[in-house]
């Protein structure tokens, strides 16, 4: 046990003192915050430019509906034929030309001539404006009183509430996705980054040939466990530094630039749907309603489990090859389940967290850490389900580690041989 501790310590210090590691640890949050700020800045810059749109209204009824706004200026073209109007707006480099045609004194086709692809929101706004006016005109023509209609309008507002009476906002889905998806994505990144780190360090020991000296002192399995543990501790250190540094940087950036610049565009959209503070309050409630503690605890349990599972595979790969370029052929079984779990998470789980696909994948050990983490914010997951999924994960770690250790034990002493799957299978029997 003393020796295991020695190995863990050496692996940890070796990782933490590494220059690349130090640079990554301290520069990454800067880059991350920098990019977020840049995106925020560019988005605001983009919003500043005003679009010029020409209107050619054959009916003469709808043009007044278009009023200049912060972001759009309308230019009204009159007494021109269509082709001339198109040419003119193109020559003036307008964003586009809206042509409202007239058939039998009625509204005809409405066309937007533009080289750009307008956003759905923009299209909807134009359609709504014209439809509304046309409908109203029809109603008036048929003898309805618009005011009566207006007064008799009732808007139903769907209130979301759980069976236990907890109110939630309509952005609830978004919030759950952000938390579940964020946790799952983070887990995947960690597994890939630190798994690779373990693999590289195995290859390094193998090419350095120090391996024989070490394993004439300790059992290979100790070296393997020590290596995986030491690296994971380095990873956790890095993560904690990132969280602290990131927090500080965002706070600083936030106070200097105001909250708008820091928000990501995704958030922006969700926010724009919420017009008053009540809804804001609901969102905060939503976040508080999330099983946050459960999520954090599960994150750590699944992170450790998932990381150890994949790290065992990464060590076996590292032991099987002589240099990093040879690892490619063995990478597929590592990357595939990770990507699969992210897809299952974002599609199946978002769609139906209790659906068959989501449930099955949250039990399979290679995918369960990510999929289950993404399921947790959505709907109640029974404790036995989480327990079973974790049990399967941790049991399979021993199974996979056993195989990995066998390959590792043989592989670290094999030099100069190109290894393939068949060879690996043979090693299991040595």
């Amino acid at each position: 046990m003393d020796k295991l501790w020695l190995i863990i310590k050496r692996e940890y210090l070796n990782k933490v003192r590494n220059k690349t590691f130090i640079i990554m640890t301290f520069v990454s949050p800067l880059i991350f915050v920098g990019v977020a700020l840049l995106v925020g800045f560019l988005t605001s810059l983009n919003n500043d430019t005003t679009r010029k749109i020409a209107i050619l209204d054959d009916t003469g009824i709808y043009a007044p509906l278009f009023k200049d706004s912060d972001r759009t200026d309308y230019i009204f073209i009159e007494n021109e034929n269509l082709q001339a109007a198109i040419d003119a707006s193109k020559a003036a480099d307008y964003y586009g030309l809206i042509h409202i045609s007239k058939i039998n004194n009625q509204l005809g086709a409405v066309t937007l001539y533009s080289d750009d692809s307008p956003s759905l929101g923009f299209i909807n706004t134009i359609e709504d404006k014209i439809s509304k006016k046309a409908t109203e005109d029809q109603l008036v023509a048929r003898g309805f009183d618009l005011e009566t209609i207006q007064e008799s309008k009732i808007t139903a507002d769907l209130q979301l509430q759980s069976y236990t009476g907890v109110q939630t906002s309509k952005a609830n889905g978004w919030i759950k996705m952000a938390f579940g998806g964020g946790a799952g994505y983070l887990l995947m990144m960690f597994i890939i980054i630190y798994g690779n780190m373990v693999m590289r360090s195995v290859i390094e020991e193998k090419t350095n040939r120090i391996i024989e000296i070490i394993i004439s002192s300790v059992k290979p399995i100790y070296l393997m466990i020590g290596k995986i543990t030491g690296t994971s501790l380095a990873g956790i250190t890095q993560f904690i530094i990132w969280v602290i540094l990131g927090g500080i940087l965002f706070t600083i950036a936030g106070t200097f630039l105001g909250p708008d610049a820091v928000q990501s565009p995704g958030n922006d959209m969700a926010m724009s749907q919420l017009e008053n503070m009540d809804k804001m309050q609901l969102i905060v409630n939503d976040i508080m309603q999330l099983p946050l503690l459960k999520l954090v605890i599960c994150f750590f349990i699944y992170f450790i489990g998932g990381y150890f599972l994949y790290a065992a595979i990464y060590t076996a790969i590292g032991a099987a090859v002589d240099n990093e370029t040879d690892t490619q052929q063995f990478m597929l079984p590592v990357i595939l389940p990770l990507i699969l779990s992210i897809y299952v998470g974002f599609f199946s789980v978002m769609d139906n967290p209790h659906g068959t696909v989501a449930v099955i994948f949250s039990y399979i050990p290679l995918t369960s850490p990510i999929v289950m983490l993404m399921r947790i914010p959505f709907g109640e997951i029974a404790y036995w389900e989480i327990g079973l999924s974790m049990l399967l994960l941790y049991v399979s770690i021993f199974g996979v580690a056993w195989f990995a250790a066998k390959i590792y034990r043989v592989g670290i002493l094999m030099y100069g041989k190109k290894t393939n799957w068949k060879e690996l299978y043979k090693w299991l029997k040595y």
Partner: protein, 309 residues
């Protein structure tokens, strides 16, 4: 005599390939034991089993009379042929780490290291990274890592490769001194002259089998084949050349002349005594040299391996 290490009926298989087939060795305490064999014979497999890097499929190893167990790791020091240390780690830190893995405490390790650094003239290397050292310097570090925990049994696989003659000599003297202090040494090499110089016991492995083992002088005794080097000054070389192969059916192996001197090798048949042959030779001319040709380890090695097919 007490044996530091005994290997009994060791068998090691890799899949269908048998790397060691019923190999027995007995390494007496305080000896320098040469483990010889052509490339791929199974030497490294045996050394790895002794170091508990791999497990044998059959047979057992005894260290100081006890069946080999993980606790014996601290009593063995191993310098593999493929040298290796962490390139980016500092020399001192690295040595302490490796010594602690062998069971030394940190302060013990430090004291031992200071002794050895002093002894091998490595003061000032402590904070250097391994990648800053030359190959010979790194080999010295490797040597210290092998011996610093003062094991009973030291295993050196090609210990002199990478050293210049001066440093090779230095290391040779250190190894012999360690033996004098009570360590037992297993020494695997292809340099036969250093076997000749240092080993008192040898074992030869060929194609997974032990083909020869024993005290060096006994092995040589076994390979002695009554060959003698002779120098003779004759009046008539031509006659001597004719006569020499004739008497006692001797095979003249080499014949070279310097002035009137004939230098040649003869092999005496079983029924001819030395006195008799001396008598015959002096009859042919003036005998200036007569000595037995003792087989060298090199000859023994080549002969045995060739015979073995």
């Amino acid at each position: 005599m007490e044996n530091t290490l005994e290997a009994r009926h060791i068998v090691k298989r890799y899949g269908d390939y048998t790397a060691l087939n019923d190999v027995n060795i007995a390494v007496p305490k305080g000896s320098v034991y040469g483990l010889l064999g052509p490339n791929g014979a199974g030497k490294t497999s045996l050394i790895r089993i002794i170091n508990q890097i791999t497990m044998p499929d059959g047979g057992e190893i005894l260290l100081n009379g006890e069946s080999l167990k993980p606790k014996h790791i601290s009593q063995i020091g191993y310098m593999p042929e493929e040298r290796g240390l962490y390139k980016t780690m500092k020399v001192g830190e690295q040595c302490i780490y490796l010594a602690m893995l062998k069971g030394l405490s940190k302060s013990e390790a430090k004291a031992k290291l200071e002794y050895w650094f002093d002894r091998l003239g490595m003061q000032g290397w402590w904070n250097k990274k391994l990648q800053e050292l030359s190959k010979g310097m790194a080999q010295k570090v490797q040597f210290i890592v092998t011996v610093m925990h003062e094991p009973d049994l030291l295993i050196f696989d090609e210990p002199f490769s990478g050293f210049d003659p001066v440093n090779a000599n230095l290391i040779k003297d250190e190894i012999l001194q360690l033996r004098d202090q009570g360590a037992t040494i297993i020494f695997s090499t292809h340099r036969m002259e250093s076997v000749e110089e240092m080993c008192d016991h040898i074992a030869l492995i060929n194609k997974s089998n032990m083909v020869l083992s024993g005290k060096l002088n006994e092995v040589k005794q076994q390979f002695r084949n009554r060959e003698y080097a002779v120098s003779l000054i004759t009046a008539d070389n031509a006659q001597a050349l004719q006569t020499i192969p004739k008497i006692y059916n001797a095979q003249t192996i080499e014949l070279s002349g310097l002035d009137n001197t004939l230098d040649f090798k003869i092999r005496l048949p079983e029924n001819v005594t030395i006195a008799q042959s001396l008598n015959d030779l002096t009859g042919l001319g003036e005998l200036t040299h007569f000595s037995e040709i003792i087989p060298s380890v090199n000859d023994i090695f080549i002969k045995t391996v060739k015979q073995d097919g």
